[in-house]
Amino acid sequence: MNAPSSALFAGGTLVLPDRVETGMLRIEDGVIAAPGSAERDGPCTRIDAAGLLVAPAIVDLGVFAVDRAAFHFGGIARAALMPDQDPPLDHPARVNFIAKSGKPDLWIHPLAAATRNLDGTAIAELALMREAGARAVATGRRWIADSAVMLRVMQYAAMLGQPVITHAEDGFLTHGSVATAGEMATRLGLPAAPAAAEALAVARDLALARLAGARLHLRQVTTRAALDLVRAAKAQGQDVTAGVTPAHFMLSDLDIGGFRSFARLSPPLRCEDDRQAVREAIADGTIDVISSGHDPRGVEDKRLPFADAAPGMAGAQTLLPLTMTLVRDGVIGLSRAFELLARAPARILGVNAGALEPGFEADLILVDPDLPWIVSGEKMGGIAGNTPFDRQPVQGRALAVYKGGVEVSAAGSRTRGNPRSVGSGGH
């Protein structure tokens, strides 16, 4: 990958970590240059960004599939892949393969399965997987029920300096359930679990992480009670971060009415009060990360009765515009939006990206923040269109994606031959 990667973004509005301002951004050798530093000789592409935001490309923490077209559509340059693959990412060789699979124009950061086969009993080879390119340890879709196993996973991850990413729902309470217990689930006659299943799991994982001295990232925190626990732990100085996906600040369990299987998610949609709590937690900093949870599912998984359908939604394409609704609603500012979408997840993964800071990888997107468009599962590109936001009008699109300072096309412009080629450099 020796493409000339010096570029100058001019005329756009720069979304910097602490402010938003009109200015120029210079890229040297694929890295963001310090303002005022001397320009070097050689070819430099000038890019007119007038009227657009120049923002860090999204770092999507916790996707379930490598979906190049969807990520490109959504302005995502890096994605952390959940270990829930077939076979699971519980072996160094598979982690190594995945770590190289998207380069050069999409970087996939594998998350190591915490336990072998993700079955929650035996610790996987976490150190070897770290060396193979794993950026964190994750429990996957499921909860590790055995607290002793969970403690050991955290102790091991702490030794390796890696965060542990957990799915925080008490698996016994949620067993067999497809909805949150409440009026909607009762009316629809759907198997339901109490929302407290989340707070229970969050409380346990917080306690175990304290004991182990581990960094904990709760991938999705979706209830008021669990968010209160996270807020309190942060106030006490615990090294914990929390994430959420747009579904839980945009939708509530009212949206499962009509048995629409696209709204079958994990964790399930919550009541309206919990949705409000998520928005408050985004505003006050309790929530650190907004990710897509991208989980494209074809009709064979979704065109089924609600309870028989697989959970999950295709979210990469709508992550940016739905987060922009929070800006438009005055919940957060633009800088904070990209903190949630890029800077915080990059920090958790330990990669020098996710912000317009000198020395960081020039992973950028040009965004028209007001561009109106209609979400369409069929037209957005990607593996599948299972989005509960189908046919909804939204605003904001990434018009161009730059990875390491070079523009990437939907098909992967810089990659010759096999787009999954692994021959373009180390991690």
Partner: protein, 349 residues
């Protein structure tokens, strides 16, 4: 007998609309009070028709009705089959156990197959809530929900309402609805589609509904559906006009949700002493099949003039005849039933 009279006089119909403006019967939740009353009104005449020696009519002659039962059923299937046959329809039964569903065919593909066979109505029972609505969305003919998971069982609620109405009439308490009455539904409320449909139907017809179950079988926020929840059966029974017992599925009795069948009987079994707590002459209903000695004692189940259990079965056939007849009116070109748009397309005379 005319099938095109648009409405009985006393049900407060909005004018300019069909009396029953739905293509499918999927849930009581979709029905307005006057629509429920209209179905009951139509079922009345089939009830008397069914008591004749010659019980055959050819109003549905030439139509094909498929009973697609993805979940085991004896009485509901039989009831629909008799209902269709008495109306002259060709009734075909499809059991999931014998079908390609077992071979991995998806529900949608099965629905498309049934649709391609040009059925004029499909009666569906399925083990998943919402499955019947999903199929209805994919087929071009009326669909009747014969029970979907733990969601709804609308014909059961309609037949219960008609049974109750007749029991009240026999006692000289006339009235088309149940205003002022209190009904207690007792048993496994969480897993009961009968409870949900009855709760909605009885309330739509003016009754106050209590639900009674141990906490492990009571769904969250049932009060939001208008029911008054009880755990103490004696308290729930006090002064009620009707006791509706639900069948306790044997798989619930294994210790996960209930300690044992005998403990359930101790706390929630309907016996003579408990029935005496209800209003004098209170009526007893059960959707069947009954677990005698678990949720209901035999002497109560067989109590003449108080137990309506066999009347419910009889009424069931009439209600299902009415539902099949109403929902096929558009296909049969009955005057005033239009093109399925819900509005009256042509003047009915």
């Amino acid at each position: 007998m005319s099938t095109s009279d648009p409405a009985p006089a006393n049900t407060g119909f909005p004018t300019g609309r069909r009396a029953f403006p739905h293509r499918d019967l999927l849930a009581i939740a979709q029905l307005e009070r006057h629509e429920i009353l209209y179905v009951l009104h139509e079922a009345e005449r089939w009830l008397s028709f069914n008591r004749r020696a010659a019980k055959h009519n050819d109003v549905l002659a030439g139509l094909t009705v498929i009973n697609a039962f993805f979940e085991a059923s004896t009485r509901t299937l039989l009831s629909f089959e008799i209902a269709g046959k008495r109306l002259g329809a060709d009734m075909i039964n499809m059991h999931a156990a014998q079908s390609s569903v077992r071979k991995g065919e998806t529900l949608i593909d099965t629905a498309m197959t049934l649709n391609a066979m040009r059925a004029d109505a499909i009666v569906i029972r399925h083990g998943s809530s919402g499955a019947v609505a999903l199929i209805a969305d994919k087929v071009g003919c009326p669909v009747l929900n014969a029970g979907d998971g733990t969601h709804e069982h609308p014909t059961q609620a309609l037949l219960d309402a008609l049974t109750l109405r007749h029991a009240l009439r026999r006692r000289g308490e006339s009235g088309d609805d149940f205003t002022g009455m209190t009904v207690c539904i007792c048993g496994d409320i969480t897993h009961s589609r009968v409870a949900r449909s009855n709760l909605l139907c009885l309330q739509a017809l003016g009754a106050t509904v209590r639900v009674c179950a141990p906490p492990t079988l009571m769904p969250a926020q049932i009060a939001a559906m208008g029911a008054e929840p009880f755990h103490d059966f004696d308290a729930a029974l006090r002064g009620v006009d009707v006791v509706m017992m639900l069948r306790l599925q044997s798989e619930r009795m294994n210790g996960a949700l209930l300690p044992s069948a005998r403990e359930f009987h101790h706390l929630y079994g309907l016996n003579r002493r408990r029935l005496d707590l209800a209003a004098p002459g209170a009526l007893v209903m059960h959707p069947g099949p009954m677990n005698r000695g678990v949720e209901i004692d035999s002497d109560i189940a067989d109590l003449a003039e108080r137990s309506l259990v066999t009347r419910q079965v009889e009424t069931g056939v009439a209600v299902r005849m009415a539902c099949l007849e109403i929902l096929t009116r558009t296909a049969r070109g009955v005057g005033g039933w239009g093109d399925g748009s819900g509005t009256v397309a042509e003047a009915s005379s």
